[in-house]
């Protein structure tokens, strides 16, 4: 399940962004050392493979909803955690860019949920101990299914936490958890079976591929990853707690950094000026709920920010129309200039 920009507060999004970006940097360092062509290719191909697989949705029996596999565990088994992480992260970036899956700010969360968790948690903590070094088919199957199910559950749980911390959705934590976990358990089992199938196919036809992964050393598994996980949640949690006591996270942080007074006053002056103009322009001034000190009114006191006033909306719609018109004008000019240049 891709986390989405619109459900995130800047602080939560930013915190996970920082964690994921840091991990990409670290993984890049780890993999750059032993880089050779054929591994680079393998990463690319496997990335493309997972990318394609993620585009195929299947219906989950009994739930009436549909899901797709994540491929995180498969990649980790084939490539080792560092390379798998880099590869998965690039898949997620491409999805965000071309298929609008999630969005840019949500990338941090998505990379964390769908790349970090399988590579640095599910694989070392669940898959490795169960699968062992040997190639017993039963252990392979158990490990694949257990690790991908737990990995997906952790990912889904993480989505719930990220959403709840952001405070955009009204869905109660418990309900959300109850909704997310069963679906992802089901997807996890399907994914586990598929992972096992592909792995045993590879073991029988192209055993060379499996060697790549066993060559990679596991990161000092439990410790590093658990620390990072906790750190991410802690940062996210703490910041959102702060943020939620100031309804506007970004303004709050800007204020803290630059010194709140200086920033607030010109902004407010501009505000008053513009508000005055707006009053004149407003189609339905009666419904203008704007009052002084609006930024301090919290959602609890009056759920509607002053900006929701109809005049505000009307004003913003006008901006929209103007922008569209300006764009069209620009385009016509460009078309004109290119045609004249051609002739």
């Amino acid at each position: 399940m891709h986390m989405s920009d619109a459900l995130l507060s800047p602080v939560v999004g930013g915190a996970f962004w920082a964690v994921s970006a840091g991990m990409i940097g670290l993984s890049a360092k780890k993999t750059a050392a032993g880089s050779d062509g054929s591994k680079t290719v393998l990463m690319g191909v496997m990335g493309a493979f997972v990318f394609a697989a993620q585009m195929i949705n299947f219906t989950i029996p009994g739930t009436g909803s549909s899901g797709h596999i994540g491929g995180g565990l498969l990649l980790t088994v084939l490539l080792g955690p560092w390379r798998a992480f880099i590869t998965l992260a690039s898949v997620l970036v491409i999805q965000a860019l071309f298929f609008a899956d999630g969005g840019l700010l949500a990338l941090g969360c998505n990379i964390f949920n769908m790349a970090f968790i399988p590579a640095f948690i599910a694989w070392p903590i669940v898959y490795r101990p169960i699968a062992g070094e040997g190639s017993s088919p039963v252990r392979l199957a158990t490990a694949s299914i257990a690790a991908s199910t737990l990995g997906l559950l952790a990912g889904a749980f993480s989505v719930v936490i990220q959403t709840s911390l952001s405070g955009i959705s009204d869905l109660p934590f418990g309900t959300f958890v109850l909704f997310m976990l069963p679906i992802h358990a089901a997807i996890g089992i399907v994914e586990g079976v598929l992972t096992w199938g592909v792995l045993s196919f590879i073991a029988s036809t192209e055993p060379g591929l499996l060697r790549t992964a066993s060559e990679t050393r596991a990161p000092k598994s439990g410790f590093v990853t658990a620390t990072l996980f906790v750190a991410a949640l802690a940062i996210g949690g703490a910041l959102s707690w702060f943020a939620s006591s100031n309804p506007d996270g970004l303004e709050w942080s800007i204020g803290k950094v630059t010194g709140a007074e200086e920033l607030a006053s010109p902004a407010e002056k501009a505000h008053e000026l513009l508000a005055a103009m707006q009053d004149k322009l407003a189609f339905l001034p009666d419904y203008d709920f704007r009052d002084a000190g609006e930024t301090a009114t919290t959602a609890a006191a009056s759920p509607v920010n002053a900006g929701t006033s109809l005049s505000g909306i009307a004003g913003s719609l006008m901006v929209l129309v103007l922008a569209g018109a300006a764009g069209l004008a620009l385009r016509n000019r460009r078309d004109h200039s290119t045609t004249t240049a051609d002739s």
Partner: protein, 250 residues
């Protein structure tokens, strides 16, 4: 089942459009823009609408076809719509009354969620519609994104087409020698996926050989990362100022 397997949608623009700022700066501005949009509070509908001006301006000015964009948005959004519906259902406190018509807080916050999605994703997709992907990669390098990662991005992108091509060939081969339901069962399909992996890997290796034989390095370091120019910094600062203004006005 294959409702989204649409690799063609990945094509970068054939005719890249010139951008008024450097590619790196464009990406930074986009990120800032999204951050500002996301920072609009839960019930502030006007704030989001105002920001919608930017993707609209970009889309109309560069003549990006809107329909495919909207289609992408619809496909990408079931989760969002679900969450928005949640707000709609759960928050029934009246926020505004217009001529006796009560509008609930849920309605407002749900609209904000949906609109934020549309605005941020539209901005993202419009950028990809004007910037070819390899240029995007180069721009990431100029923003100091690690080389290994950028290389992977470019390869995954490139190999997705390869995979689709190979999958197409295999499907062609199978279709031509299977009749009725015979030869199209899940068992054959499973084997097919397995050999798709082998085939694509083999071909990708040879293509990689061809690329590196023509000067492509394991990474893209052969060309120095383009530094961000002062003009770009000014553009970023300008954009930030503008976004702040809009953000505080609406």
């Amino acid at each position: 089942m294959t409702d989204r397997f649409d690799i063609e949608a990945l094509h970068s623009p054939a005719q890249p459009r010139p951008l008024p700022v450097g590619d790196g700066a464009a990406i930074v501005i986009l990120a800032l823009f999204i951050l500002f949009v996301i920072s609009v509070p839960k019930f502030d509908l006007a704030g989001v609408i105002a920001f919608a001006a930017f993707p609209l301006l970009l889309a109309t000015a560069t003549a990006i076809p809107l329909l495919p964009l909207v289609k992408r948005l619809v496909i990408a959004s079931p989760f969002i719509l679900f969450m928005a519906a949640g707000n709609l259902a759960l928050d029934r406190s009246t926020a505004v009354t217009i001529g006796g018509l009560a509008i609930t807080g849920g309605t407002v916050s749900a609209s904000v969620i949906v609109l934020k999605t549309v605005v941020t994703l539209a901005a993202l997709l419009s950028l990809m519609a004007v910037m070819p992907f390899h240029r995007f990669g180069m721009a990431l390098r100029s923003l100091r994104v690690p080389e290994v990662f950028v290389t992977q991005l470019l390869l995954v992108y490139r190999y997705s087409f390869l995979l689709a091509e190979e999958a197409g060939m295999m499907q062609k081969a199978r279709d031509l020698r299977s009749f009725g339901k015979r030869g199209k069962g899940p068992l054959v399909t499973a084997k097919l996926i397995g050999s798709l992996l082998i085939r694509t890997t083999a071909r990708a290796e040879r293509i990689y050989m061809a690329m590196s034989a023509r000067g492509f390095r394991a990474a893209l370091d052969s060309r120095p990362a383009i530094a961000i120019k002062p003009g770009d910094l000014a553009a970023i600062a300008g954009a930030t100022a503008l976004f702040s203004l809009i953000r505080s006005f609406f």
